[in-house]
């Protein structure tokens, strides 16, 4: 690992209780949602991670709890570093603080997150759907959202089919 990246990772480990993992030379840090904004501020101001390159989420329903992992990819141009943050998020009313205060371009990324995964972003200046039509119901990239081919539920067998239908029953 690069020295400067090592320092950034150590800072986050000590100050934000982040856990480091490495896969195919990509470093990712797991940290709690409460620490997210602080961690990004540290990376942005002290280590020069100026660009928010990537923001997305993964839905692990139904195998794993917590249900979501939100992934942030930060890039430091000066030292040519790349770092990923992973924030686990519970599936029950998932919400995250906004990053628009640190990175302006988090705006659309977070709207996409809301649109596709139904993750509420606290303090977001403009949280509307972005890719799906505004009157759309549901969040398509969740794993319990079907990709077509739905079993048709008639009134006489509604409950029967509902039992084996894969969606989050909460």
């Amino acid at each position: 690992m690069d020295d400067k990246l090592q320092k950034a990772v150590e800072a986050l480990t000590n100050r934000c209780a982040a856990q480091t993992s490495e896969f195919r030379s990509d470093i990712s840090l797991m940290l709690a949602a409460e620490q997210l904004v602080e961690a990004c501020q540290i990376l942005h101001e002290e280590f020069g991670f100026e660009i928010l390159a990537e923001l997305t989420a993964v839905d692990y329903w139904p195998q794993q709890r917590p249900r979501f992992h939100v992934i942030y990819g930060l890039r430091c141009l000066q030292d040519n570093l790349f770092l990923m943050l992973r924030v686990p998020l519970d599936g029950n009313a998932p919400s995250l603080p906004t990053l628009t205060t640190v990175y302006a371009n988090a705006n659309w990324f977070e709207r996409e997150l809301w649109d596709m995964f139904g993750i509420q972003i606290e303090g977001h200046p403009d949280l509307r759907r972005i890719l799906m039509p505004y009157e759309w119901e549901g969040h398509p990239l969740r794993k319990d959202y079907p990709l077509g081919y739905e079993e048709v539920q008639f009134s006489f067998n509604f409950d029967e089919i509902d039992i084996r239908k894969p969606y989050a029953k909460e």
Binding site: D26, A53, E54, G73, A104, W108, M116, P140, L147
Partner: protein, 414 residues
């Protein structure tokens, strides 16, 4: 919200965007006007909601998603190789580049080797595609600024590149020529000649476009000091590609994090400090010349050898082996029915597309289908700069600004 304004469900009420427009709009001092989604200057299906004070843009609210096809969701339901076919359709001006980003992510995930010949051909094709993409950009951008002839010239040259793509991949645009572990097949014998012929012709043609535009007072009037993006703002908005480079940050992933053997070639990263529409024009035109330089070097050094990895767990065997080797037959059958199963893990790989950083986040759960694919597309991120550039400018400038960001709506909406 909808009940309040008493409109039908198919209409967006003004309340929904109340926080994005000024206080003058409800009083009727400014006008709200739709630009697009069907508009020749929005380069596809982009809708802009404009708040206008006469001809001055007070606020510009982009509305995207008209071309959303759910590619990411669809890819989760297909095997890795089948999903590759969908990647061409994202950024339809950078089809080979999309294949490349996706295949590099898979190769990183499974730690797959790519033979040198395949890498060199990948570079040649993506650089040709970059030239083609910039040609479309230049043509349409000039067309927006009322220079019709440039458009015709640019498309004439682009046709040569599409012919080359058709020669190698059988398709003009959606080739899916780059596959995990290498290429679909080797290039035909006439490939080298065709590329060389094009390279001989291109520099003079670029001079021709420059003769039409670079010192053209009308063009300069419409572009210089229009849409100035300061370095800090470019970084704050996460802009990448020519937009960032025209604002004084010479960042290019081909140099910063070389992939596919870009470290073997000698090329410059053009950058400007002005950050205006004209600077972005200069950067892109110079990029075409640099791409041609890379292609020429790659052709000169083009090694002979296989174009696909010999790792049979991931890459199908050559057709000739299937008739004689039982093992090859089994591998072929397994790969085309079940597909390959990469190890569990998540990777992010980014390449430099003509528009900026094109990244693929790929997560595998050990099954033959990708568990999650996310396309970090440059147009989607760069597009966010538009409202701040357009504020306070004329509607006519807005047309220049849409062109200068070089969006491809397939890339924005995915």
């Amino acid at each position: 919200m909808l009940e309040q304004s008493n409109v039908t469900i198919t209409e967006v009420s003004v309340d929904e965007i109340r926080h994005l427009i000024s206080d003058r709009a409800p009083k009727g001092e400014t006008v709200l006007l739709n630009m697009g989604p069907q508009h020749p200057s929005t380069h596809g299906v982009l809708r802009l909601l404009l708040e206008l004070d006469g001809e001055i843009v007070v606020n510009c609210i982009p509305d995207v998603g008209f071309l959303h096809t759910g590619v990411e969701k669809n890819m989760e339901a297909k095997t890795y190789v089948k999903a590759a076919v969908m990647t061409d359709r994202l950024d339809y001006l950078n089809t080979v580049g999309n294949n490349l980003a996706y295949c590099l992510a898979i190769e990183k995930l499974v730690d797959l080797d790519v033979p040198p010949r395949a890498q060199a051909i990948r570079v040649i094709l993506t650089e040709l595609q970059r030239i083609a993409s910039h040609l479309v950009w230049l043509g349409t951008h000039a067309l927006d600024l009322a220079a019709m002839s440039v458009f015709l010239y640019c498309f004439r040259e682009r046709e040569h590149i599409l012919d080359i793509l058709e020669m190698v991949g059988g398709q003009r645009m959606m080739t899916t020529y780059i596959r995990p572990g290498g290429l679909w097949r080797d290039t035909p014998v006439e490939f080298e000649d065709a590329v060389r012929k094009f390279l001989d012709l291109l520099p003079a043609r670029i001079d021709e476009y420059e003769a039409l535009l670079t010192k053209n007072p009308l063009f300069i009037e419409r572009t210089r000091n229009i849409g100035v993006l300061a370095k800090e703002d470019a970084l704050r908005w996460g802009a990448t590609g020519p937009i960032l480079r025209a604002s004084g940050v010479a960042h290019d992933l081909r140099k910063a994090r070389p992939y596919s053997g870009y470290e073997l070639y000698d090329f410059d990263i053009p950058s400007m400090t002005a950050g205006d529409t004209y600077a972005r024009y200069v950067v892109r035109v110079e990029e075409m010349r640099q791409s041609a330089r890379i292609v020429r070097q790659a052709l000169d050094k083009l090694p002979y050898g296989p174009v696909r990895s010999s790792n049979r767990k991931y890459v199908p065997p050559p057709r000739s082996d299937i008739g004689t080797s039982m093992e090859a037959l089994i591998h072929h059958f397994k790969l085309w029915t079940e597909g390959f199963t990469p190890p569990e893990g998540a990777v992010y790989h980014a390449v430099e597309s003509p528009r900026g950083e094109l990244g693929v986040y790929l997560e595998s759960d050990g099954s033959p289908k990708p568990y999650r694919v996310h396309w970090r597309t440059p147009s989607f991120v760069n597009m966010q700069v538009l409202p701040s550039l357009a504020k306070g400018r004329l509607v006519a400038d807005l047309v220049a600004l849409i062109g200068t960001i070089d969006i491809v709506l397939g890339d924005v909406d995915r």
